[in-house]
């Protein structure tokens, strides 16, 4: 499952997937497509990576950022596959939302093998929490309650039913032995912030989201993080939270950010981009950007990233089929 996959990924990264030397020429007109309107996560992925690459002199010119929104990234995906399949200048922002949608067939007619996966630039690990005033104090205890009466606990998350925030809860529920995970009550909100507000308002009992969304509320005492869905404890302010694994619930949920490139991009251009992102990831400049954005470490590139995506897609497909989101 995800865990093993992430572990293998971590090993691959840890062992040091040696950064390919940047021998290739930089593309003349580097361009990044953000598959959403300005201001969203994908837009920031493009803009910040573009700026950092230029500041570091890895690309000689400004990265042109083009917003191409629609279909939760599906419009951009189709555009790249159909029209810009051999463009050497182009990379496209992606995240686990991209692979989740690919896995669930939400980009009609498109599959994950139609593009080349470049590299990740970090990840945001999932958390499950309850209101600060709640008397539930561990993840195991929360799921005991769910097991006893699934209707007693409503989970709030920022993604749709079958989306990433929901799947994290279901993965955990499977691990604790809840047979029919479909009985779990999940309420979808328009984003982590809204879900958090409803937790504070008392409309729901539990929150599922990402660690970066939780910081302010943990410090104010409004949110109690029961577990982080990371392979091991995080660094920094979040170091106090137990991992789900420590609680005996062996689940890892990482919302990664990264890039893909057109499927017929030349090998030399692909190597350039893989090298460029890998080199950038290792710099202090990027480490501070990651810290500023609440991104944890996840450094995958080239073939390792491709494997990661393939496994990720397979796994989400299996789970989605099992719970009946897809047939």
């Amino acid at each position: 499952m995800l865990k093993t996959l992430l572990r293998s990924a971590a090993i691959a990264a840890g062992v040091g997937l040696a950064a390919p030397a940047i021998a290739q020429e930089a593309p003349a007109n580097p361009q990044c497509i953000a598959p959403a309107n300005p201001g969203g996560g994908w837009d920031f992925t493009c803009r910040q990576v573009g700026k950092t690459l230029q500041d570091l002199g890895i690309i000689p010119t400004t990265m042109q950022v083009t917003n191409l929104s629609g279909g939760g990234g599906g419009v951009a995906y189709a555009e790249v596959v159909n029209k810009r399949d051999s463009d050497d200048n182009l990379i496209v922002a992606a995240s686990s939302a991209t692979t989740t949608r690919l896995a669930q067939g939400a980009f009609p007619g498109n599959t994950a093998d139609q593009v080349r996966w470049v590299a990740t630039i970090g990840a945001d690990y999932g958390i499950i929490g309850v209101s600060g005033s709640s008397d539930i104090s561990s993840l195991a205890e929360l799921f005991e309650k769910v097991k006893a009466d699934p209707r007693s606990i409503a989970f709030a998350g920022g993604s749709a039913v079958g989306g990433w925030d929901h799947l994290k809860v279901l993965l955990a529920a499977q691990k604790v032995g809840i047979e029919d995970v479909r009985t779990i009550k999940y309420v979808a909100f328009a984003g982590g912030g809204e879900a958090m507000t409803q937790l504070l308002a008392g409309s729901v009992q539990a929150f599922t989201g990402d660690i970066s969304e939780a910081k302010g509320f943990v410090e104010s005492g409004d949110l109690k993080v029961l577990a982080v869905l990371a392979p091991e404890r995080l660094e920094g302010w979040a170091a106090d939270f137990p991992t789900a694994k420590e609680e005996g619930i062996d689940v890892v949920g990482a919302n990664w950010r990264g890039f893909y490139a057109p499927g017929k991009m030349s090998d030399s251009a692909y190597d350039f981009w893989v090298g460029a992102i890998t080199k950038m990831y290792a710099t202090d400049a990027w480490q501070s950007v990651m810290e500023a954005n609440g991104l944890a470490k996840l450094n995958l590139s080239g073939a390792a990233f491709k494997d990661f995506v393939e496994k990720n897609v397979d796994e989400i497909q299996a789970l989605s089929r099992q719970i009946g989101i897809i047939r």
């Binding site: 042109q64 083009t66 917003n67 039913v161 079958g162 479909r182 999940y186 309420v187 719970i323 009946g324 989101i325 897809i326």
Partner: protein, 143 residues
């Protein structure tokens, strides 16, 4: 009369909408209300108001006929063509043609229309592309 037609169109739209709503594929996990209920309520509301129009129509407006209708259809065609070919033709050329056509049909003389069209296109290009930095359609010549 127009209201009666509006009512009929409303009924047809509502019926099609309900039909489409029933086609929504529900997954095994769904909420209590489900994705179909609210749309069907809306379609019923539309059907009810449409029936009202059929039973108690207001006085109808004057519809354009002949040349006037052709005028409108031409304008719509120009706008559709503009939307379709903007990415291929490029912003400045497409906009100059479309704006020129509209200003001509609104009463400018032909030569003036051409100039107004070009001026409009260039003006917008400068503001949006150069000042605000939006990526407009580039076309074969890069503008």
């Amino acid at each position: 009369m127009s209201d009666r037609i509006l009512g009929l169109v409303g009924l047809v739209v509502a019926a099609l909408y309900v039909w489409q709503a029933t086609l929504i594929e529900e997954s095994f996990i769904t909420d209590v209300v489900g994705p179909k209920t609210f749309p069907i309520i809306l379609a019923i509301l539309m059907a009810a108001t449409s029936l009202y129009f059929i039973l108690r129509p207001d006085k109808g407006p004057e519809w354009p006929t002949g040349a006037r209708l052709f005028e409108l259809l031409m304008a719509i065609a120009v706008l559709v063509l503009y939307a379709l070919y903007l990415p291929q033709v490029g912003f400045v050329i497409a906009t100059a043609i479309a704006a020129g056509y509209l200003t001509w049909r609104l009463g400018s003389r032909p030569l003036a229309s051409l100039l107004i069209g070009i001026a409009t296109a260039l003006g917008i290009w400068v503001v949006f592309k150069l000042i605000l930095g939006l990526s407009l359609a580039e076309g074969p010549f890069g503008f």
